[in-house]
Symmetry: C4
Subunit: 275 residues, 4 copies
């Protein structure tokens, strides 16, 4: 039956599908913009509620707003389920799960609720922030960036593996050199320090105190400074290849067969024949 309805949907369902899932028609565009506005409003409410002074002053209003937005999102979720051909497939897709995750915590807070579990409820409600992932709906542009990152996935994994091995060894050495009295209380703690240093973040909550420790730290910093070049190089080369590839015509000359012509070329640049 689902299959049938997928093939010949009722006109109102087709219309609904167009409004909710398409972004090209005026109605679809208006719906998307309204959705974007509500998502941003919802995220702002969660952010504001987490500030103690604001929560104390406007707590009830913010909670009311939260319920209104949750009900709006619930209606939207139901409409999405109704108008797609295969509701189960949508419900189990990435965006289906995100849409569900965006409304569940508020409802859960009703059942798990109670005076003493307020903190837990607040925690659950925070998951609503993931609603912002819905923004992904709006990035319809086929992202050249994502393509470059995917193409360099394997090289980046090798790079991250090397960095992981490096911080493991550096962390262990610093634990031996500095010891627990200088803040390097365990190897995991030392590895945390190594990551903070290698990535040039440098909080300064843990810092080497001995001469040997500072010498090793200096080495780590210069290393981190130098190897940041690697992911940059990888992504730059991939981006260059992707945008370069789009710029050269694939037309071959019919006379001499040579390729590599510019997209605006009318004549073969080697033999002069018309393209």
């Amino acid at each position: 039956m689902k299959q049938d309805s997928a093939k010949t949907p009722a006109p109102w369902r087709a219309k609904l599908h167009e409004v909710i899932f398409e972004a090209d028609t005026p109605a679809g565009k208006a719906f998307d913009l309204a959705l974007l506005g509500v998502i941003l409003l919802s995220v702002a409410a969660v952010l504001l509620e987490s500030v103690t002074s604001i929560r104390e002053a406007y707590g009830p209003e913010l909670r009311a707003l939260e319920w209104i937005i949750t009900i709006l999102f619930s209606i939207e979720y139901a409409l999405r389920l109704i108008c797609v051909g295969r509701p189960l497939r949508y419900a189990l897709s990435f965006y289906g799960l995100v849409d569900l995750t965006a409304i569940l915590p508020t409802y859960l807070s009703l059942f798990v609720g109670g005076a003493h579990s307020l903190v837990v409820i607040r925690a659950l409600r925070l998951l609503r922030v993931f609603r912002i992932l819905k923004l992904g709906h709006f990035v319809s542009e086929a992202s050249m960036l994502g393509q470059a990152l995917r193409a360099s996935r394997r090289k980046i994994l090798v790079f991250l593996g090397t960095v992981a091995t490096l911080v493991l060894i550096i962390g262990s050495l610093m634990y031996l050199i500095e010891g627990e009295e200088n803040g390097f209380t365990s190897i995991p703690q030392s590895i945390y320090w190594a990551i903070v240093t290698l990535t040039t973040v440098g909080y300064g909550d843990i810092a080497p105190q001995t001469f040997l420790g500072k010498a090793l730290a200096s080495l780590v910093m210069v290393t981190g400074y130098a190897i940041i070049a690697v992911p940059t190089g990888i992504v730059t080369v991939e981006l260059g290849r992707i945008s370069g590839a789009r710029e050269i015509s694939t037309k071959a000359c019919t006379q001499c067969g040579l390729e590599g012509h510019d997209p605006d070329a009318v004549h073969c640049k080697y033999c002069g024949a018309e393209l």
Copy 2:
């Protein structure tokens, strides 16, 4: 009438326009250099006045200097209005507004003044620092950098959007993990921490204390370390394309006169004539 004067300006106005707005003639160049000197002097005065010990020692002198510079800039502003063909258009242009903003605060301090509003006045005067934007007059070189940044505008926006979503989610998670007792007093505060960490600034005024927090922070740092590659790659590819474009042959086709041929082209790619 303005239109007429724009078409046939009086000789002294044409001369004045040349001195003030052009940088190619000796007089124009001298004027520009003098202006640059006064702007730098003015900025230095504002900087020095903000240092408490200097303000106490040289307050009157600095205020006198401020008035002299303000009057000089006022005369310059009036001359600019007089010698341009369309004064209103200049007054509403970006540099017209900057020029006005550079002199207004000092005059305003006369009317808004009074013993108790001294702090506010000082604040208004600080806007004079924007005078340095006038330096933009001197960057006449058609900036290849600006061109590369404009060309990659869309990609950089997608990148910044991704970073914004990322710090929102990371900030919320850290607020849940660390909680208010470890300095993560609200989600906005946590987001601030996430930005400080992701950009590898790392003040250390807020830093994770729990094991889980440190583990997530490590992930964030390595991520930040890796994704800094993206804007770099974008700008590098754009710069490479723009400067590559300049290596295109300057030969023009003798038949059709079109340019833009590759250095290794034998025939005009537009009309097929031999180059």
Copy 3:
């Protein structure tokens, strides 16, 4: 005799060699995955044991696990020695030494042991972390990254030499400017600060206090910000060349059989025959 055995190994030794040293057969793959699991388990055990609370709670279990892993690695080391044609050559190779280093500390702790030298023993045991270097066995992929780094080795050395000279001079100047009362207690300490600043790590444990010191520090930061471009540029160009090189045509000349022709080549560049 070794030479002979290398030429005609007994069947069981050939089989053993295939399992331990090859990664292409099912048995070899299974062995490698098991080895990877044990290495990671071993590293996790060392990390956990360094945390005081975990060591107090699970000390005996972790030490038992350490002995089990050490014995497993010992058996593996013996098998490797048996099945290779030239055991001495393997034992003195890089991985041979790493394999030995991974098992020695635990045995040494038996002889050097005693109630008072526990700290030293723990230190020796930490060397087991180097077992993770065995992971290198699994990076069989011919790494394009390593190739790019090797190719830019000389340029990176010149860069590091320049950085070293720079931090030496900056460190000396800051020692003169700030002096011992502001935390710059010696030139090595000042050099440490210069490295922390130039690499944009910025712990903040030592920071300039005087105006002149802050001015010089600002200069150092902007310099560091600018020269990070150099290693990035070096590696990017090398990576671009290496991946560009792969886009070379795979056509081989039919006359002389040589490869490496450009995609737009019509004639063999070595013998002149048509391609």
Copy 4:
């Protein structure tokens, strides 16, 4: 007379010149290596002497070493003056001045000396660190890096100017927003903070406390994160152009006149004629 001696130097002077100034002959190479060793020893001595505990234990030895090295360098300086054709020109060249600067402070400490001016003397002695600049003698390799930096000089200056204007405006705004009670005691101090933040160094000695200040700081960090792409892009493109240019033969085909052949090409890749 100097001109004459420059034309026909005595044999021993030619030999001396070869030893001191050339690096290709065995004697010249040995001299250079010995010089490098003495420079590094001298720098190490200055570094060690600045550490209080070492100075107290080995003060006299270090001072003796300093005098020995100073006398060695004086002899070397004299020999350089003798064996060059135009001593004055050498003395006023960059390396001539560096060589003089490397020996002067120790002699000056004799005349300026006295029990109470010890600190000043120590300061003068520190200038000896500049001896390390002599290492520049050893970078005979025509540096591709320096060429890339010189080629992108103008672009880097525009970039630095933009950064300077940016930190001036950001610093003034933060001074207004945060004020003196939050550590932003003056505009120069705020500018220092802006540089520390924009370059992602992030000491944390000054950090925004108000909500508005943190919001602006976040903006600054993301900006800094994005614009670090600019110098990287500039240098990468220059490096790519320079190394690309070196890789393509400048030979033109004698038959068809086309260029762009690989350095190892024997035949023209377009017409097949021998190169």
